[in-house]
Symmetry: C2
Subunit: 471 residues, 2 copies
């Protein structure tokens, strides 16, 4: 019997894909940077079936590559080209198992799209705050396996901070049922932390119990115009002190990013309201959320904007007067990735830094890149409130984008050396996958790599769980 027939017998014929055409959608990553091959693609419907599939792989020494919505940015869910691995898709594990409004928790299966988790929470008048551009297709299991970030981290934390319990299939096919809905549980090592952010290299997350929150019914979005990145940092300090946890987002956008968005909108004939009468080097998008008092939130935001302008931190400010308004202000920020893609892409970096180092880092790195080539253009935007910048390097107007890609290695060297000098991280929210695995190994201390290898060795001694990723 062919190995794939054994799998079919275990899981049912419809759960095992073996033909190239059927497998293809699972074997190329979302950005199209990696294409792998697989022995088979399996689509179990239950945790028990995941355990059977993984146990079968363990018996036969077959690597397992777990995949959720296949929306990752670093090739973490794409197998290598050896065709030895089984790709295990969690997409059919998509039940909402329970919502517990008294406990403010929800228990969901790994393959649930993020948006369905959000909707199930809303149906019980609760917020599940994780929010990403890909939320329609990414899965909660993938979000947890990569410790996803997104736009609400400032207030609610990363995916890690939202998980209370996990169910995981370990490398030998054992099921660990750690599905607890407890805010406090000090009875030994916090095992769920091992699996969150480990990109499937220690086990397959099959379900999770997650925290829910009160829905913030009042939401005001302000756009503030600033002269310098240092001014946006000062403004962040002011906003945190004034708003406390009401500050749910604090995003920055360099004017060059906003121009790209404008350029994208214009030829399509879409009417764009000019944001400010004149251009400003930096825009800040600030979101103030409260449980229900719209008037209070509006007043507070107006006072914050006035104080920031009086202090010279901001030049001008726009406040949303309605939820539609708020959405259209967010639209500018959310259009940046697409606008950059239409311009031909760029050399991307997803970095984090101590907030106080942001301005110096950006100035130094900008100068070094300018010295490398005056054709380069730095496109900075991102989650300043989390210390997280998307520091992308393209080319100035009229210069083909190849002028950036041709220098990718040199650009990366400049950017990452500065990140490490300032105590930052070379991957803030996208993870390592295949794309940044070697970078992490090069830049981490040997003690840290040794600790990571000891964990991997203890939990997956034969290196069958998502081999070649992260470590």
């Amino acid at each position: 019997m062919e190995p794939i027939d054994e799998l079919r017998e275990l899981l049912g014929a419809d759960a095992v894909l073996g033909r190239a055409a059927d497998m293809a959608p699972f074997l190329t990553d979302w950005r199209g940077r990696y294409t792998g091959r697989a022995l088979a693609v399996v689509q179990p419907r239950t945790t028990g079936q995941v355990a059977q599939a993984v146990a079968w792989c363990a018996r036969h020494g077959v690597p397992v590559v777990p995949q959720g919505g296949n929306t990752g940015l670093v090739g973490g869910a794409t197998p290598d080209t050896s065709a030895r691995a089984v790709l295990l898709s969690t997409r059919r594990l998509r039940r909402i198992r329970a919502v517990d409004p008294a406990n403010d928790t929800i228990t969901v299966e790994a393959g649930c799209p993020l948006q369905e988790v959000q909707q199930a929470a809303l149906a019980h008048d609760r917020l599940f705050p994780l929010s990403l551009a890909s939320q329609g297709s990414c899965t909660i299991g993938g979000n947890l396996a990569t410790n996803a970030g997104g736009t609400q981290v400032l207030r609610y934390g990363n995916a890690r901070d939202l998980a209370l319990g996990l169910e995981v299939v370990l490398g030998d096919g054992t099921v660990w049922d750690g599905l607890r809905g407890l805010r406090k549980d000090n009875t030994g090592y916090d095992l769920k932390q091992l699996f969150i952010g480990s990109e499937g290299t220690l086990g397959v997350i099959t379900a999770a119990t997650l925290k829910l929150f009160a829905v913030p019914r009042a939401r005001v979005v302000c756009l503030l115009a600033c002269d310098t990145l240092a001014a946006t940092v000062a403004l962040l300090g002011r906003a945190r002190a004034r708003a406390g946890p009401a500050l749910t987002a604090f995003e920055v956008m360099a004017d060059d990013c906003v121009r790209l968005v404008d350029a994208m909108a214009a030829p399509a004939g879409r009417q764009r309201r000019p944001l400010f009468a004149q251009r400003h080097p930096w825009l800040v998008l600030l979101e103030w959320s409260e449980p229900h008092e719209a008037r209070h939130a509006q007043d507070q935001c107006e006072q914050l904007c006035a104080a920031a302008i009086a202090a010279g931190e901001a030049r001008d400010a726009l406040l949303s007067q309605s939820l539609d308004d708020a959405q259209s202000l967010w639209q500018v920020r959310e259009s940046i990735p697409e606008a950059q893609a239409r311009r031909g892409g760029n050399v991307k970096h997803d970095i984090s830094l101590p907030v106080g180092a942001m301005a110096a880092f950006t100035a130094e790195t900008g100068q070094a890149l300018h010295a490398l080539s005056t054709d380069l253009q730095v496109l900075v935007f991102g989650h300043l409130g989390d210390g997280n910048l998307h520091f992308n390097v393209g080319t100035r107007d009229g210069v083909p984008i190849a002028a950036a890609f041709d220098r990718e290695a040199q650009i990366n060297d400049i950017v990452y050396a500065a990140v490490l000098r300032h105590g930052g991280s070379v991957s803030a929210e996208h993870g390592l996958g295949q794309l940044r695995r070697d970078l992490a190994q090069r830049t981490k201390a040997p003690e840290e790599m040794a600790l990571m290898r000891a964990i991997k060795q203890a939990m997956d001694p034969r290196n069958l769980m998502n081999p070649g990723k992260l470590i």
Copy 2:
């Protein structure tokens, strides 16, 4: 040369205690339940000295028992009676290494008393929110090693949630420098999570980088009188929906606990303001905090109380009108442990449950204990907002407390069986130490124990780090 002389040569004579009288204060735990013996007590002043001491222990096969302020409740920092171990006190590692207001972080050494961390943050107009009864003497290293909870968990999380980076001396004396001040860093396994809450069984935490927050300048405390525990749970749901993150504490107290506090106050001749004109079965202490608007917080609290009374969840409510008022309302809650101690102590349980299971658990368990003996009295109080009850069992008025202690094993069986039936935890915030180690092993699934042992084996194969604790 005696082993202890070798240690003196390495660390300096003043850093090594060998005489019984000098060692005694380190060798009995705070509750007086455990007394151990040690080869020596070492008090290093630097991370380098900790590394030297631990490396020396590794070379000689000597166990290491780390200790902070020696305020733990489960004997986690007390050695066994073999006199083989070195007790490593972190108390001299007490520098505040850095405060970074722009990044809202502070970096401190493990032996810093919690209160000094709070004060260093306040000196920069920031809040470090971890808050415990023992904050004058417990150390931040101990807080992290035990994942301490306390009174502000509802809003700010446990100690785990407040740590961004750690510096740890591993079992072989290697120093892992994971002192990062980053909110986002997805570059591999989140190693700090292993050490937090592991009670010194995987390494010695020597320093930490911690999150700071805006100081909440407006703080209103309400005391609400409720008829049933179920009513307090309904009130919690209402408060969460209305206040969102402004809800910084939600504590419950059974009237029997309040009576003990009253009894303690009366003979000392202290004047106590009667809280309510009549007694109520349950009191809720609710704290509403905002960055600075006292008037808004007061108004919101008044509306919340009025709504809870209208809905029949609460019978009566008292609101603080000043910070002094707020403190005196907290005083009732904070006096409960002392009042229970003066009554002769009781059989203590530090449990957590899904919030929705609280009322059923308490009713069922109360009945089972009453069936065991009508002399028993259940004394319930704690952090309802976190799902965490201190479910203590004493005796009713006039019955010697021995009537409870004599039935300790049966009481524990009843309580813990009910906790597990309702999906709870047998140690919410105090950890396992020696006191609850076997309980955890008995009640956890074998897969979970196997995972914990695999981690322990990978990181401390010779079982020299705090042996006999937690695992």
